[in-house]
Symmetry: C2
Subunit: 246 residues, 2 copies
């Protein structure tokens, strides 16, 4: 880890549309910033523009809600077609309340609405799903750009109010950093320290991206350092008995 | 929010000891960085040095475990004296497993071991508790330094592996940013966006602090912007029926 970091939004990213060459748009944004890839660079990219470029937008008018979706829509007050999409993206409903559905997404993420939201989508009556394979999307962009990439989304949390940026895709950096065995300041060995490195990068980038009309879907983070092999964002998902809050 | 951020560790912070004038140590660190307070600055300060300065270190030899602590120590394999301290800092045990105790801290935080840990403490056989009133500590430092302050700690999460920096104390900035009512890129009104602003600041600072022998317990974050009134980190704690994962 280094003693100083900088974060800068890539200027001039347009409204992204299905089929756009996202790697090309990001490369042009990096060029506008005058940035050539250096060791310790990570590009954070908002889920929203990855999903848009990959054509993950669905017209609600095309969705026919099934019986389970209808029931859950009645219980939550949500649009039954949106609920059908949420269920189709999920393996399990974790909690449902009026105006709230928390699911386990097929990728393992426990999150509201399976990550489907309607802000910054720009097509009336459409909902935007998560990328099919965010780790794969990150790997494609990382190869294209020659730097590590984290795909970020804004997640709510258990026990704490407010969303924070988290990594739903990662390539070229260790999503999880295992520090066990390293010494502390006084030579005592760290016994439990494993950090959600890509999640901290995503949260930092969230400070620059915002959630609204900022138009800052890509943020270059410079000055990081790591000496562990790359691991994808799927490594951040707790599974099986390790997950105490199913 | 601004389009660029910088984070820099304050150089030259010594090993902090009980009774140290932490505000003075941080002011000297800021001066070494050549930084005078500017709008949008936030100083992130590690829980560990706040606790040390406030004398929150307890010799385990001084602790007599009660019956409940003894039982929980047997169930988890932890030192009964440490468990006694954990219970004395908590209102409720949320989960216990071999080698793991998750509690609701008296301040409302759901966290492992009530935030008591033994790394970077530097006194053999001592455990370090959270500050008595981290929002109060943050307010004191903010008044002294003339800038917003976030006191950070490393928390594990439900559903996701790895710790991330979170805010346990905050002053001079809104810990939570309510963006509802603002427009998205296409003029649609944001309906659910509330961000854990101080938590994102804490996570960003965590990238610079690390967890081990880095010796970087204070990080100046520059370039932030907010236009909501200040609110403490206690605003980040979900309470009552809003907490779905008790
Ligand atoms: N330039 C540009 N910015 C976008 C686009 N879509 C979203 N953004 C910006 O990306 C940032 C994050 O938006 P948000 O809706 O929270 O995305 P999410 O967290 O990935 O779901 C904000 O600054 C948005 O204004 C787009 O198509 N073009
Ligand atoms: N200079 C200095 N650094 C410290 C001290 N205590 C902890 N640190 C550093 O603060 C950072 C965070 O340490 P950590 O033990 O994870 O603190 P926590 O997250 O607040 O519990 C690391 O860079 C440590 O090396 C101290 O007394 N002096
Ligand atoms: Mn999203
Ligand atoms: Mn977002
Ligand atoms: Mn701590
Ligand atoms: Mn830490």
């Amino acid at each position: 880890m280094s003693a100083a970091l900088t974060l800068a939004a890539l200027p001039g990213i347009p409204a992204v549309r299905a089929g756009d060459d996202l790697g090309g748009l990001l490369a042009a944004g990096l060029a506008r910033l005058g940035a050539t890839p250096a060791s310790g660079d990570v590009l954070a990219v908002a889920q929203k523009i990855v999903s848009k470029a990959e054509g993950r937008s669905v017209p609600l008018a095309s969705v026919t809600p099934g019986a389970e979706a209808q029931r859950l829509a009645d219980a939550t007050g949500k649009d039954p077609r949106l609920v059908e999409l949420i269920l189709s993206e999920s393996v399990r409903v974790v909690r449902a309340r009026p105006n709230l559905i928390i699911v386990e997404h097929r990728l393992g993420f426990v999150m509201a609405n399976a990550g489907i939201d309607q802000s910054n989508v720009g097509e009336e009556g459409h909902a935007l799903l998560l990328p099919l394979d965010p780790d794969g999307s990150a790997a494609g962009l990382a190869a294209r750009l020659g730097m590590a990439v984290v795909i970020t989304d804004s997640f709510g949390r258990a026990w704490r109010r407010g969303t924070v940026g988290v990594a739903i895709g990662a390539a070229g950096l260790p999503a999880l950093l295992d520090l066990r065995g390293q010494p502390d300041l006084f030579g005592r060995t760290l016994q439990v320290s494993v950090t959600g490195f890509a999640d901290e990068v995503a949260a930092a980038a969230g400070l620059v991206m915002g959630q609204g009309a900022e138009g800052r879907p890509a943020v270059l983070v410079r000055g990081l350092a790591w000496d562990a092999p790359a691991a994808p964002a799927s490594a951040l998902v707790r599974v099986g008995p390790e997950d105490l809050f199913r």
